[in-house]
């Protein structure tokens, strides 16, 4: 009883903060001719409502793909279609073909914000609440605190309710997937994850861990007996859910191909705008985007991504465990973010979601990462005039984390989950005891740099020769942080079970 009352309070807090942020500006507000993601979503409603389904992804006189053409998988399109129906009911002008282009009004903003809130309330928030209730080995109060911290994560709130996107839907489905797979409802889990992929193709960042974890489970049960049955069931679920989502586009080969071309726009380049990944940071020194031909860029990025996800994935197949699964999700998503082709700055949310899930296990590192992830989107948030809500929500999140978790009190090797790693290093380097201290210093340096850079970006004008100086610096610093985190998470994953085994031996 008490648990549910606190959970209600926490959810209400999350909702209040979300709605308060949504009162702010959105991307591309009053900026013709292209506007921003807000207009993109509105435009998709217009297109999906007014055009027959076979024209949604095709360029035509009624559907100019250069102007925010639909480039997300079918589920997003269906969602837009649904919203368009409601919009039509309230005010047909909002989705009138051609005439509604660039439509903005306070009522329309209210409508759009409400659609985000409803989607969030239906998909993401229940998943978070359920996930926290299902956590094992922690007290009820910790579960509730955990839920509050996850719901207050500023990155997602600012992008969904400030910038304007529906990330909570795809991330929510992914979270349902994680929940299902970790609680051994494998079929439901894979169904939810298929929905996530069919909502946003970026969810593919999470697909490898899902695949490896489920495969590992099958292996564990024995590929000749129960494992095989499970595998067949999983394959059927995935195929069925994909077919269901793509049914209208499977009628013709050309349709399917066109949708796929829209989803994976290879010709858009290695990265877009300023992203805190390796390629963008590296191009400060060398403009690889211009020097190398496109197919080589694709090959290079593929190789790097593949190499960096490989160890964690192999480990997960060999030793599938819900805990390892969560950490592998973090490391794989981070690898994809850092190395893969055509990455957006908002894709960091795909890494943040699994990091939120390990918040109660490694509060210090998780809080740090979540702060950096929000910081890495600073140029975008500034462009959308979201400085004020960003600063406030980040501080609120930080206060919440430090209040509920002993973030600074406990940074020993044990708490950082680095004990087994340190023990094995000490075999060669007996003096290797300074790691926790080093990490604390790194944290301080990182936070101070972020603070200073934020202050500079807000208050100073960049020199005329280098108009992008600050945003490039933000990306570079964040990228360095992310590389460090990649290393850290890989170490945790690789040394995890050795620690577990030694514990078992002691037992």
């Amino acid at each position: 009883m008490e648990k549910w009352y606190w959970m209600t309070v926490v959810v209400l807090m999350g909702l209040t903060v979300r709605w308060a942020v949504s009162l702010n500006s959105y991307s591309g507000a009053g900026k013709p001719p292209m506007f921003g993601d807000y207009e993109a979503q509105r435009h998709w409603q217009e297109v999906t409502y007014n055009l027959p389904i076979r024209q949604w992804y095709f360029n035509s006189s009624d559907n100019n793909l250069q102007y925010w053409g639909l480039d997300y998988p079918p589920l997003t399109a269906y969602h837009s279609f649904l919203c368009a129906y409601v919009a039509k009911f309230i005010n047909p002008e909002w989705i009138a073909l051609h005439a509604s282009r660039g439509y903005e009004s306070p009522e329309h903003k209210l409508f759009m914000r409400t659609t985000v809130l409803i989607a969030d309330l239906l998909v993401y928030i229940p998943a978070v609440v359920l996930y926290c209730c299902c956590l094992k080995e922690i007290s009820i109060k910790k579960k509730i605190a955990n839920a509050l911290c996850i719901l207050l994560y500023p990155g997602l709130i600012l992008i969904d309710y400030g910038h304007f996107q529906y990330n909570s839907v795809s991330l929510g489905f992914a979270l349902w997937g994680v929940l299902g797979v970790s609680c051994d409802w494998d079929l439901l889990g894979s169904l939810a994850f298929c929905l996530a992929i069919n909502y946003k193709q970026m969810e593919l960042y999470h697909s490898l861990p899902f695949f490896c974890f489920l495969l590992g489970k099958c292996f564990k049960k024995g590929l000749k007996g129960k494992g095989c049955v499970l595998l067949m069931k999983l394959v059927c679920t995935v195929v069925a859910s994909f077919t269901l989502c793509w049914l209208p586009f499977f009628t013709e080969w050309e349709q399917t191909l066109q949708v796929l071309r829209r989803l994976f726009p290879v010709d858009r380049g290695l990265f877009e705008d300023k992203v805190a990944n390796i390629w963008c940071s590296f191009s400060i020194f060398l403009k690889i985007k211009d020097i190398l031909p496109r197919h080589i860029q694709i090959i290079i990025s593929f190789c790097f991504t593949f190499l960096s996800v490989l160890p964690a994935c192999i480990k997960l197949i060999l030793q599938p465990s819900p805990k390892g699964f969560k950490f592998t999700l973090v490391s794989c998503a981070l690898s994809f973010f850092l190395f893969s082709f055509q990455v957006h700055e908002k894709s960091i949310l795909l890494v943040s979601l699994p990091v939120c899930l390990v918040l109660n296990e490694i509060p210090f590192m998780a809080t740090w990462f979540l702060l950096v992830s929000t910081f890495s989107m600073l140029p975008l948030l500034l462009k959308d005039e979201l400085l004020m809500p960003s600063v406030v929500t980040v501080m609120a999140f930080f206060v919440a984390c430090t209040t509920f978790f002993p973030v600074f009190g406990k940074t020993s090797e044990e708490e950082l989950k680095l004990k087994s790693f340190c023990i094995s290093v000490r075999r060669y380097l007996p003096r290797f005891t300074f790691l926790p201290k080093l990490i604390r210093y790194l944290f301080l340096t990182s936070v101070i740099t972020m603070l200073l850079l934020t202050l500079m970006t807000v208050s100073l004008d960049p020199p005329q020769k280098l108009p992008d100086l600050f945003s490039v610096l933000v990306c570079f610093i964040s990228c360095m942080n992310f590389l460090f985190f990649l290393l850290y998470f890989n170490i945790i994953i690789m040394w995890d079970s050795k620690h577990g085994r030694s514990q078992k031996k002691i037992n």
């Binding site: 209040t16 308060a20 009522e107 509730i144 605190a145 509050l148 609120a396 206060v399």
Partner: protein, 526 residues
Amino acid sequence: MAAPGVAADGGHWFSALALGVTFLKCLLIPTYHSTDFEVHRNWLAITHSLPISQWYYESTSEWTLDYPPFFAWFEYVLSHVAKYFDEEMLNVSNLNYFNSRTLLFQRFSVIFTDALFVYAVHECCKCINGKRASKELTEKPKFILSVLLLWNFGLLIVDHIHFQYNGFLFGLMLLSIARLFQKRHMEGAFLFATLLHFKHIYLYVAPAYGVYLLRSYCFISSKPDGSVQWNSFSFVRVFSLGLIVFLVSALSLGPFLALNQLPQLFSRLFPFKRGLCHAYWAPNFWAVYNALDKVLSIIGLELNLLNPNKIPKASMTSGLVQQFQHTVLPSVTPLATLICTLIAMLPSIFCLWFKPQGPRGFLRCLILCALSSFMFGWHVHEKAILLAVLPMSLLSVEKAGDASIFLILTTTGHYSLFPLLFTAPELPIKILLMVLFTIYSVYSLKTLFRKEKALLNWTETLYLLGLVPLEVCCEFLFPFTSWKLRYPFIPLLMTSGYCAVGITYAWFRLYCSVLIGPFIGKTKKH
């Protein structure tokens, strides 16, 4: 609000609560703000650019300065910070001046001055007896009280959305109450005198202060049965109290006395030309009276008992402050309301004198004074309910009976503030915050008093739950009906009528608990 997992060390949780609500206030900056925003901007301009002799004469804007001098000085001080934000907002003739820097400055001035409120809450928490102290932090009376005060829904929406400076004023009031609890009477008296010269609405509770200080401070001891021991009267104490009040008043009113402007000042402070009820009807006795009049006049018209041509065409809820003439029932004069208020207050004052119960008795009397004046006062704002709600929070964490009164009073009182925010984007905010605060207060008090009988009986529960369909009717269904144009006042009428019942009931129950309640004299402590 939520600090379930807080390590129970020192005051760490308190700063987390205070910081949390401050962040929420910052998030509310871009919300809707009422004309009070322009009122305060205008006062900034008046105090900044005009000599003191002009302050209470200036009338370029319709929002003339109508708060006592200390508040004018407060605006004067603020204006010297404001000039670094935007000089233009300090120009008297810049009516309805607005830009983002002005907004930021004004909003932040409220948020920063709330620091006093936070401090006062901190002091109040010290005065709560910790008999019920549980091991669980979230079940400690101190924790619950600080949430109830810091996260108070009414204060949040009135100050940080609607826009007013109640936070630091209530801070002063709570601080003076805390000082009286701590037996630092002189400080308490000084703080309250200062408060009166910031905003004269607090005059409503002045009788409680006066009688309490006279009875429990100026008389050093009581007889064992609690009656006055006349020979223990201390002239020194009376004199020093008088001196404090006199000095504060002299500081505030002195300059205007020297300028011979006191009559003008008082005519600004007490504008009896305004109507019996505020633009929105506060849920008090007169709201029921007006509603009855309106219903009778409609019935009269239907039955052809009244001549339609003789009925004054004044829509009471059109949004402008104006006189309202009753059609059937006798019209009410300011004097009548004053007499009603005094009569309503009198029993509680008597109790305070004849059954002194220490600072808790004083607090009860203060709340009753606030509620009585809310029930019968002239031109009462619905915001005035906070005057009773906030002190009531102090009582609610100590006794189950008070907790139950608090729940009814707060929930109905807060709901009656809903018409303040009528814009669509703020609708979810007000509903979410209200539900958040109500759920928290109900469940935390239930947990606190779980050993006692249920806090709310089924009629009370049903009444409070009735607010949900009321809200659905008023804000979700009514706007889509054809009555919206013909009878636009119906939602407000229903709201204030419904809330008036709850507030009257809470007032009545509190009165009963004071009048019937047992005598706990000082003798018991000895």
